[in-house]
Amino acid sequence: MTYSPPPMTTPGNLERVDAPSAPSGAPSVVFSGVTRSYGPVHALGPIDLQLRTNEFFSVVGPSGCGKSTMLDVLGGLNRPTSGEILFEGKRVDGQVPPGIGVVFQEDASFPWLTVERNIGFGLRRKGFPPQEIRERVQRAIEFMGLTAFAKAYPSQLSGGMRQRVCIARTLVMRPRLILLDEPFGALDQQTRLLMGDELLNLWRRTGATVVLITHSIDEAAMLADRVGVMSARPGRFIEVIETGWPANRDSRLAASEEFGRLTTRIWEVLRNESIQAMRADVTSGI
């Protein structure tokens, strides 16, 4: 059966991100010949890729292929060994540029702060006026469904709720580029599907460019506008597949035929790389 998207929901209360500093139409992110090596170990690249503004791009690849390295390098947490990354026309070189938000796989909520204080952390450090902090935090809490837990500590929340706190903390900074490194990896399947829907919602409301790294072929195929399939280490893009989904999609498109064809295609490309990666693990004695 073909997929028909649900009716467009009424616009929510989240503000769209500030207009990007690059002219509209120009790519948000450009990778040119980017590689990353750790000593003799060539971990990533060369990567050549352009990301459109307000695009949802997901990266899927076998274990250890360098997906997280790519995200580190894009986010300015690591510098590329060679090549160049441009974010909104400016070089990213080992420093985190303004306008980027990152959500990690591990729980990164600060255990000693309440949910409220966690979310407002970045704003407080940047010296935003208290009134504005309160408003932004309040809106983010409502958007992420955390209203009942605003005064709770992360240790009192489930894994899924804690990830929501981390996402909310990123949200309030109004990033124009959101990087997510297997954010739902530690969650169960059902929670993953729901969180995926919420991520789509967030993406639509804010108009940010989103890069999602994932192990899950289904997740990549369901959420993204384009899926980048990465090879085994050193990771390079073997293929970048346009999904063609409408903007107002949700997890129920998994029932459609197009979804099945898409995931089969991704797996066909990925399967050999995964086998190779597994063999590499065995021979290196891991």
Binding site: L77, I100, V102, A108, F110, P111, T170, M173
Partner: protein, 504 residues
């Protein structure tokens, strides 16, 4: 009230009543122990005297100074060591052997250096406590989850903000644990020193009461100490639990420390060289009478070691240590196993044991002497008292935290209780028992040494105390060094054994 607390409460009440009965019926020779009611009456009477509070204040003052100094020095040293990993790995053997050293052995030396006043006492308390703080700070800084630091970077905060808003709160729980330990160590160090040799203070009062056959007073003082320590321990536990939910789950250390035999050897040599130099320099500063130089000490050691008398003392100490260790490990393991098999028993018994452990056991030595007299048995029992509690706690914990799947498997295979114990529980416990032996060794050794320093006619501890009365600083240094080397060598071997057992 939970079932466990109820059991605990009624057991304690029953023991008190039994004790009262035993004393009133004269089933025990009077003079050995005093009825609880008499203890309480005497304690209340003492609390009405000014002299009592003066002693309490003397000891409290010493302990507070030791504790505060330990916190300050410990935090600074911990921060520096963390910032310079090379220095840290060089000092590592000292850190891991620190609590293997029987500190009170150094006490006579400090008296010689500083005189018989509160300074050596504070110093012992400080030495005992400071390492706990250093370890706590290092642990805390090691265990800051990398993801939190990375989050700070993605939020573009600067390094000062990173240190103050991320590193510090993330490390705090471990530093707090170190502080709690340091608190206990400072109290123990101060009271223990006052007990062994002093002219004022709470520990001195206990020793004085014992020496003058004032049993009522002695037991009353011990009771007050027990109650005070119990209240403080409970208070600290409550405080910890209140902020526990803010501390985050216990995390694995992110620091990988590559350790080769060669590097450890090099580190030990460097430490030895530094200590010897410090010793020589101190000797130059304070003179021969106060502190013999390494050279003179070595000269003095040679005839000492070749004399028959010395080895008699060494044999005595070793024998006492051996029996003590056997007693504490076997007793601790058996009791630990029995209690650990039941969750209710564990919940009921553990808080009592932890509180007893916090009590400066040195204060209980007079009780041991009352029952056993000045004898070999007294030393052995005293050492065992020190060592059996950690063994018991470790075994209880090992059984309680054993992978439940193992016991379920035994049930599915329809094994009897005995079979389960023999084939599943005991083998699973072996690595933890080895850890228990390692921990017990240092503590038991300390107990035996203290026992010998106070009222024993033989043994290395006796030799130490005798040397102080004749101001034989060379022998003091010699014996101190020997004891230190012995403790460190045995401890290192047990650590290696412990690591091997855990990797098997």
């Amino acid at each position: 009230m939970t079932r466990a607390s109820a059991i605990r409460l009624w057991t304690i009440v029953a023991i008190i009543i039994a004790l009262e009965l035993v004393c009133r019926m004269h089933w025990v020779r009077p003079g050995l122990i005093v009825a609880p009611s008499v203890m309480v009456v005497e304690m209340v009477r003492l609390m009405g005297t000014a002299a009592f509070w003066s002693s309490v204040w003397t000891s409290t003052r010493s302990f507070l100074i030791a504790f505060v100094l330990a916190m300050i020095a410990g935090c600074v040293i911990g921060l520096v060591l963390h910032a310079f990993p090379r220095v840290r790995s060089t000092v590592e053997p000292l850190i891991s052997s620190w609590y293997a050293l029987p500190f009170f052995v150094v006490y006579p030396l400090l008296i010689v250096l500083f005189g018989m006043n509160e300074k050596p006492i504070i110093l012992i308390g400080f030495l005992y406590a400071v390492m706990a703080v250093i370890i706590g700070v290092l642990n805390g800084l090691d265990r800051i989850p990398a993801v939190l630091t990375r989050t700070g970077r993605t939020l573009r905060i600067n390094s000062i903000q990173q240190a103050w808003f991320v590193s510090l709160p993330a490390a705090a729980p471990y530093v707090f644990t170190g502080a709690k330990l340091a608190f206990g160590y400072a109290i123990t160090g101060v009271l223990g020193s006052e007990f062994i040799l002093a002219n004022a203070g709470y520990g001195y009062d206990i020793a004085f009461a014992y020496n003058n056959f004032a049993d009522k007073t002695m037991y009353a003082l011990l009771l007050f100490l027990l109650v005070a320590v119990a209240l403080i321990t409970i208070g600290l536990e409550r405080a910890s639990r209140a902020v526990e939910h803010r501390s985050g789950a216990s995390r694995v250390s992110d620091v990988q420390k590559p350790v080769t035999v060669a590097s450890r050897l090099a580190a030990s040599l460097i430490i030895t060289a530094v200590l010897l130099s410090a010793w020589q320099i101190t000797h130059f500063v304070v003179g021969q009478e106060a502190l013999a130089s390494p050279g003179v000490t070595l000269q003095r050691l040679v005839p000492l070691l070749s004399g028959e008398e010395f080895w008699t003392h060494v044999r005595e100490t070793f024998l006492a240590l051996g029996f003590s260790l056997l007693l504490s490990c076997v007793l601790g393991a058996i009791l630990g196993a029995l209690v650990g098999m039941s969750a209710t028993a564990t919940a009921a018994v553990t808080p009592v044991i932890v509180t007893l452990y916090a009590l400066p056991k040195i204060a209980l030595y007079p009780v041991v002497l009352l029952f056993f007299g000045v004898s070999f048995a007294a030393k052995v029992v005293f050492g065992a008292m020190y060592g059996f509690i950690p063994m018991m706690l470790i075994v209880i914990n090992a059984i309680q935290s054993m992978n439940p799947a193992l016991r379920k498997t035994a049930r599915v295979m329809c094994l009897s209780q005995v079979q389960t114990l023999g084939t599943v529980v005991l083998p699973a416990m072996v690595p933890e028992v080895v850890t228990g032996i390692r921990v017990s060794f240092s503590i038991t050794f300390l107990g035996v040494m203290i026992g010998e320093m106070f009222g024993s006619p033989r043994g290395l501890g006796y030799v130490l105390m005798r040397s102080i009365t004749i101001n034989d600083t060379a022998t003091i240094m010699g014996v101190t060094v020997l004891v230190g080397i012995f403790a460190v060598v045995i401890n290192s071997s047990l650590v290696a054994l412990d690591n091997a057992a855990h990797h098997a």
